[in-house]
């Protein structure tokens, strides 16, 4: 039973990290209908920025709490800056282009960013400093649920609540929902669509950066290539839940995380990705627009 609970919490942790990245995918897709392949790279850059900042600060002898806060902020700021710049350079000129052109541009951007980090930093795996301390009160259950699992779950929940509030109650959230529904109408009612799209990229990138910081300190090492597989998994999760839907992205991520965790625990870690993708295919066969996605009405 302990093993089951351990796997369950491991799955939840994994799922909540996927959720942080998947939200960026799903928000961008919901607004401009683009699979942003460079999003995984944004997450990787977030992880790298927090790694650099945290290591520098720890060398200069800052206290742990200050390191966590500053590294988190730096990761969010720089990832958002990258997200914003990428959108401006690679996607905005293609707003009216055929559907596949931005996709190729995104793939190109992803290759570019991977190699940029590879060249500017290193191709080796880097040890990420342990930013999350072992809490004393977690001692009795530490063999099942680690402190970092707890921190990840709590942080993710808080971030989700904040995001929901942002989208439900603020002006920019309202503008985002309007733009997602109908871009032309949004322009007509006086919404600056360009600004809304930029805001979406910034918010999505910041979420991915937080995910990057959390997972990197959980696993303990980073590399320029981590963005690719995480990006594909998160995208799978977003599609699983119904792309464009924010609760769908969270649900899809949790389902994916749990599936992978149980598959690794009970079958074999070699086939964890096979299980993830098979689950995706199975769910899409029975629900072609994902778990929570709305079926679109087709018209001639």
């Amino acid at each position: 039973m302990d093993y089951f609970i351990e796997l369950f919490f491991g799955g939840l942790t994994r799922g909540s990290i996927y959720a942080l990245i998947a939200l960026g995918y799903t928000m961008v897709y919901g607004i401009i209908g683009l699979i942003n392949f460079a999003h995984g790279e944004i997450y990787m850059i977030g992880a790298f920025t927090s790694f650099i900042v945290a290591t520098v600060l720890s060398i200069y002898g800052f206290p742990l709490l200050a390191i966590v806060v500053i590294a988190g902020l730096a990761a969010a700021v720089w990832s958002s800056a990258y997200g914003f710049t990428i959108e401006k350079l690679a996607y905005r000129p293609l707003r009216k282009a055929p559907r596949l052109a931005p996709l190729i541009s995104a793939i190109g951007m992803s290759i570019f960013l991977q190699n940029y980090v590879l060249l500017a930093q290193t191709s080796d795996f880097l040890p990420f400093p342990a930013l999350i301390p072992e809490f004393a009160f977690m001692e009795p259950v530490a063999h099942i649920v680690g402190s970092s699992d707890l921190v990840i779950l709590v942080t993710t929940t808080l971030v989700m609540i904040a995001l929901t509030c942002l989208i439900k109650y603020t002006k920019i959230g309202k503008a985002m929902r309007a733009t997602a529904q109908d871009k032309t109408m949004a322009v007509l009612v006086g919404i600056n669509v360009d600004r809304v799209i930029s805001a979406t990229f910034i918010i999505g990138s910041a979420l991915a950066a937080i995910g990057g910081l959390l997972i990197a300190s959980h696993i303990g090492q980073i590399n320029f290539y981590i963005g690719f597989i995480a990006g594909i998994k998160a995208f799978t999760a977003a599609v699983l839940g119904g792309i464009g839907s924010i609760p769908g992205a969270v649900l899809g991520s949790l389902v994916l995380g749990l599936t992978e965790s149980f598959a690794t625990g009970y079958v074999s870690s070699d086939y964890e990705d096979v299980f993830a993708f098979s689950l995706l295919v199975l769910i899409l066969i029975f629900k072609p627009s994902g778990l929570l996605g709305k079926a679109e009405n087709k018209k001639v």
Binding site: G33, I35, I45, F48, T49, F51, I52, V53, T55, V56, I59, A74, W78, A81, Y82, T85, L89, A90, L94, A97, P98, L100, A101, P102, L103, I104, S105, I107, G108, S110, I111, F112, L113, Q114, N115, V117, L119, A120, L126, P127, F228, I232, T236, V239, I243, D270, Y271, D273, V274, A276, F277, L280, V281, L284, I285, P288, G290, E296, K298, V300
Partner: protein, 409 residues
């Protein structure tokens, strides 16, 4: 000559990039020795480089706008390349010249160059195959490399276990891949657009992971080595001779593929694909069997990948799962989109550019893939329709011939 406002803007851009690249370009930490290394010179290069580039880009855009403003009264003139393609009196000599050049290539250039050209031609076939699925039928397939892997592994394993020769496996590889295409096609046909994209991506990854982990079947990550080269009527050839032989084989396959794809585009099936791409419901209303047509596109596209896969295994005499990653699918898709979706000549040019470019960029060594990514973005931003966009088949109404006036048109 250059407005001060623009200079200010460029300065701001360069400041922004200096900020953007600060943590990753400037700071380098050594977590074990606990050393911090600041590389301020990088920051200077970035700032200066982005300043110059932004000015150049602005000049380019201004010039383009001026050109377009001048062009306007002439209405939309057809680009030069498209006029060449449309007119048979240009197209035929041109294609014959290309073919002759292709035939004499191994005699004009070194073995090394021939080898690279063979790879490029293989990608031409892959691009044309994927073009059927993506460009013509409009089904976004991100896992095309799976079929390529099936072809390569079918030759590798059949040769390894049963000693089957190249010519026997070539059709088998194609058929296996086509069969797999149908197998994949059935469940995913209900999906549309991007859902289809992610399922095909997942499928490609599943195939790769199975090849990597099922050691007893595929020998795992170490792959299959010592695959027999193709024989020429039972004669074994020298190393250089073998390379030239495979080159001609691939060239033949390219010509065959162009022929088939060209005929297909004008066939009933090809028109059905085009109609399906434009509007599925209208297409069904016209009595086209949607399932059958889509499955045909999937399996035909897959078949070419399988054939090229067999040739790939024979050419490198070694296959392992690392050759069949998502990046490969992405490159093939880029060939199709960059060349111009649906256009055969566009795809050929796209393949030659995208495959030869990294080879000749080898001078840049480690900056090669960086440049590749940047070029993909730049090409898409400046030519979103591809190098040669496919011209819609249209009937030209000649005014001076008909005297009846517009009402007859």
């Amino acid at each position: 000559m250059f407005p001060v406002k623009e200079l200010k803007r460029s300065a701001l851009i360069s400041l922004w990039f200096a900020f953007l690249t600060f943590p990753i370009m400037v700071i380098k930490v050594d977590p074990i020795e606990r050393l911090v290394n600041y590389r301020w010179d990088n920051m200077f290069f970035i700032a200066f480089g982005s300043f110059v580039l932004s000015i150049l880009a602005k000049v380019f855009i201004i010039r383009k706008e001026k050109k377009e403003a001048r062009k306007k009264p002439k209405a939309a003139t057809e680009p030069f390349m498209q006029r060449v393609i449309r007119e048979p009196r240009f197209l035929y000599p041109l294609s014959i010249a290309c073919f002759v050049f292709g035939l004499s290539f191994p005699y004009l250039f070194s073995t090394y160059q021939t080898n690279i050209m063979t790879t490029a031609l293989m990608y031409v076939v892959l691009g044309l195959g994927l073009n059927i699925v993506v460009g013509v039928a409009g089904l976004l397939d991100l896992g095309y490399v799976a079929f390529y892997a099936v072809g390569a592994y079918s030759y590798a394993l059949l040769n390894f276990h049963f000693g089957l020769g190249f010519w026997v496996v070539l059709p088998i590889g194609g058929i296996l891949a086509a069969f797999l295409g149908i197998l994949l096609g059935f469940p995913v046909l209900r999906l549309r657009g991007d859902y289809l994209a992610i399922v095909t991506l997942g499928f490609g990854e599943i195939i790769r992971l199975i090849l990597e982990n099922w050691n007893t079947f595929s020998q795992g990550p170490s792959g299959v080595a010592n695959i027999a080269r193709p024989s020429f009527f039972g004669i074994d050839m020298s190393f250089a001779g073998g390379i030239i032989y495979i080159y001609y084989l691939v060239l033949l396959l390219v010509v065959f593929t162009i022929f088939v794809v060209n005929r297909l585009q004008n066939s009933r099936l090809g028109r059905a694909w085009l109609a399906l791409r434009e509007d599925e419901i209208a297409c069904e209303a016209m009595g086209i069997d949607k399932t059958k047509t889509k499955l045909m596109a999937f399996s035909l596209g897959a078949c070419w990948a399988g054939l090229v896969g067999v040739i790939f295994a024979a050419k490198t005499t070694f296959v392992n799962p690392a050759s069949f990653t998502f990046l490969e699918s992405a490159i093939i898709l880029s060939i199709v989109v960059l060349g111009g979706m649906g256009s055969i000549i566009g795809v050929i040019m796209g393949a030659l550019i995208l495959i030869l470019l990294p080879e000749y960029l080898r001078a840049l060594s480690e900056y090669r893939m960086l440049a590749f990514g940047a070029i993909l973005v730049i090409m898409m931003v400046f030519k979103p329709n591809g190098i040669i966009s496919n011209v819609r088949r249209s009937y030209r109404f000649k005014k001076n011939v008909s005297t009846g006036g517009e009402s007859n048109g």
